[in-house]
């Protein structure tokens, strides 16, 4: 093996081989899939005349902006967005089907996650639909942890997504966070101040609420969900955070 040309050609062939197998072939097989129509979310019983919805739908408005915040802050380093066929995944995500290619058709880039230092978020829009909960969680991740049991979140707070505002004499802002008692504000903001989410915080929450994979797809067999009864269905677009 003393000829550089031989090494060059051999490597080119091996490179093209793996490229064909791992890039070209998946693109040919599934790359051109289209959204499915008339799909009924499993957690929502069909009403009369209900023709279901198109799934997935491209995110728009606030949710699309929120995706950029999610990407910017590197949330995917601790949170995955992929449900494997392992039964434990169904329990953690409260959704009894695994993720497939079609779930990510409009995610560019799709952030599948690197580690699971925090929970998987594939279905967070269904598991936790409360906007205030998400906002408080971003402001003070330990707010909902049982500190007495030694439970502590490793998630960093994102104070730059919030503003402290002086409460006006006519009353506080309607968009101010409803903070639980466990959250203690910095000393200088304890009297007469409220915490108001910025548009970025609202966008991020809109994105989180848009995450759900609760549609029965042909390629992803799904069985009866164990989702909470109070779960509210969200449409895939879900742009408008209220």
């Amino acid at each position: 093996m003393n000829h550089g040309t031989l090494i060059f050609l051999g490597l080119l062939l091996t490179f093209l081989g793996s490229w064909s197998g791992m890039v070209l072939a998946p693109q040919v097989q599934i790359g051109r899939q289209q959204p499915d129509v008339q799909l009924q979310p499993l957690n929502r019983p069909p009403a009369e005349g209900d023709v279901g919805e198109i799934y997935p739908q491209a995110r728009a408005g606030l949710a699309a902006q929120g995706r950029e915040i999610y990407q910017r802050e590197g949330c995917y380093y601790c949170h995955s967005q992929q449900i494997s066929p392992h039964p434990a995944d169904a329990r953690w995500t409260q959704l009894n089907r695994f993720s497939v290619h079609r779930d990510y058709l409009f995610d560019q880039p799709a952030m599948f996650g690197v580690q699971r230092l925090g929970p998987d978020l594939s279905n967070i829009g269904l598991r936790q639909p409360d906007e205030n909960w998400h906002l408080v969680h971003l402001f003070a991740p330990n707010a909902f942890m049982d500190g007495k049991a030694g439970n502590k979140s490793t998630m960093p707070p994102y104070p730059h997504l919030f503003d402290y505002r002086k409460i006006m004499p006519q009353g506080g802002s309607t968009s101010a966070l409803k903070l639980p008692e466990s959250v203690i504000l910095p000393k200088q903001y304890q009297d007469g101040y409220e915490v108001v989410p910025t548009s970025e915080a609202r966008a991020l929450v809109a994105y989180l609420k848009s995450l759900h994979q609760d549609v029965n797809l042909f390629e992803a067999p799904m069985y009866a969900p164990k989702a909470k009864t109070n779960v509210v269905s969200q449409t895939a677009t879900n742009g408008a955070a209220k």
């Binding site: 093996m1 992929q82 990510y104 599948f112 439970n151 707070p157």
Partner: protein, 478 residues
């Protein structure tokens, strides 16, 4: 097996100190080496900060660039492209010139490539910290920086390939095969992945397949081949016994080249089953060429190194081989489907990745630095730090691997909550944080040693050493 005559001659030349270093190549090779060491410090510092965030998430919370999600990818990119790539490229090109008995081609262009590479990694790392993250693992630097990295990789690769093309020694040593392979494929991988993923030519879960292909190809065809190229040069050279088997090296080279791109998909990925099955199978088959390489090189380490720096290189090389086979054995258990479904997104994966990247590639580079830098600077010294390196390796990768196992067991337990996962990981994260602190200490020691030697050479070259000593003597007299 006795050493080949050419290796013996090379060894004799090295030992007698009459090695005729290519003076024009010193600047670009030193530039890449010194900046590589500087990026080692920067990445270790960022790794340490991100590990600290696991214990004190409120630490620096007012500064967005200090959040874990920004620090961790910045650290990883600085480590991959700042340290390993740059130091590995310098070492690789130096080895190509040595084994080809020629001079480094286009040294000025290589220096330009080095400056471009460093500028790009700097912009890219700051870009990630500033929030311009592309969201694609190992390709997180902003798209513009990725494009510049691609250009810089072409410049550096062309210089390396022209060097070996102008060789006077017609025999291509196994070390050269691996380094040629690395230099050839780097621009292909960076270009293809950037075009496909950042150019948004694929969508949906195909992105996961492409990203896995890119990460696995980079791991083996770039970092792995650079590490192997270094070891195939260092071990026969320093142990004075020659290479145990050239045919075994050839088989391992082609097997790794064929398999490299196929193994980057995890068992639970939202991709067609056939891709996952191929990926799992390839990851298991990987054990064969790795075992062959380790057997081949280990049997080549029987001789006796004759100088301190060579002895240190050989020790680094042996530990690199140990890390490589440890990685291979651990990854076999990792890639079995039943295990992979539970371990794939745990700390186990970064644990074994770090064992491979730092334990194998990093140690191979440090082994090479102990030979290359004294030769380039014309001074006899060794970097030392092998004990610190080992502590850093064990304390970073082992806790992550054990933590991953713990994480998987909690994850599979129906009675546990996500708070239990975090609580269960705290002791392991604490250990790995100390490991990253040790890594930082090691990187600083390596950089300081290089800078000290470099400073001495510069002072000697400009005649300032005499002036400096005269000046200090006169001060003492006063």
């Amino acid at each position: 097996m006795p050493a080949s005559p050419s290796i013996q001659a090379e060894v004799a030349r090295e030992v007698s100190g009459k090695s005729n270093e290519d003076s024009a190549a010193k600047i670009p090779l030193l530039l890449l080496s010194v900046f590589g060491a500087a990026w080692f410090v920067a990445s270790a510092f960022l790794f340490f900060l991100s590990a600290m965030k696991m214990h004190g998430p409120n630490l620096g919370a007012a500064f967005p660039f200090l959040s874990y999600g920004r620090l961790q990818p910045a650290a990883m990119n600085a480590f991959l492209y700042g340290f390993l790539s740059q130091a590995g490229a310098a070492l690789g090109i130096w080895i190509l010139a040595r084994t080809g008995k020629t001079k480094v081609a286009l040294p000025a262009v290589l220096a330009f490539g080095g400056v471009l590479w460093n500028g790009t990694v700097l912009v890219g790392t700051f870009g990630i910290l500033a929030g311009y993250n592309t969201g694609l693992p190992w390709l997180e630097m902003p798209a513009g920086a990725q494009a510049m990295l691609f250009v810089a990789s072409i410049v550096i690769s062309v210089c390396g390939l022209l060097t070996i093309a102008s060789r006077t020694e017609r025999t291509l040593y196994p070390a050269a095969w691996f380094i040629i392979g690395a230099l050839l494929t780097l621009p292909w991988m960076l270009g293809t992945a950037s075009w496909t993923l950042l150019g948004q030519t694929v969508r949906g879960a195909v992105q996961l397949s492409v990203n896995g292909w890119f990460i696995n190809s980079m791991t083996w065809l770039w970092f792995g081949f650079l590490g192997l190229g270094a070891l195939f040069y260092i071990i026969p050279k320093t142990s004075k016994t020659g290479l145990h088997s050239r045919s075994s090296a050839s088989f391992a080279f082609w097997t790794l080249a064929i398999l490299a791109g196929w193994g980057g998909v995890h068992s639970g990925a939202p991709l067609p089953r056939w891709i996952i099955t191929i990926s799992e199978s390839v990851n298991l088959i990987f054990l064969v060429p790795i075992a062959l390489v380790v057997h081949n090189l280990w049997n080549s380490t029987d001789g006796e190194a004759v100088s301190e720096k060579e002895s240190l290189s050989l020790r680094y090389a042996r530990f690199a081989l140990t890390a490589l086979i440890s990685y291979a054995l651990l990854s076999v258990s990792f890639y079995l489907r039943s295990r992979n479904l539970t371990l794939q997104l745990t700390l186990f994966s970064p644990g074994i990745t770090f064992m491979l990247l730092f334990g194998f590639v990093g140690f191979s580079i440090l082994a090479g630095y102990n030979l290359m830098l004294p030769a380039l600077l014309g001074r006899t010294f060794s970097l030392g730090g092998i004990a610190v390196s080992l502590v850093a390796l064990f304390m970073t990768s082992i806790p992550l691997i054990l933590g991953g196992l713990k994480q998987a067991s909690i994850w599979g337990d129906e009675s546990k909550t996500s708070a239990d996962v975090v609580k269960g990981l705290v002791p392991y994260m604490g250990m790995s944080t100390l490991g990253f602190l040790t890594l930082l200490v090691l990187s600083v020691l390596v950089l300081l040693r290089i800078v000290r030697e470099l400073k001495t050479v510069v002072l000697e070259d400009c005649g300032c050493a005499t002036w400096a000593s005269d000046s200090s003597e006169s001060k003492e007299k006063q």
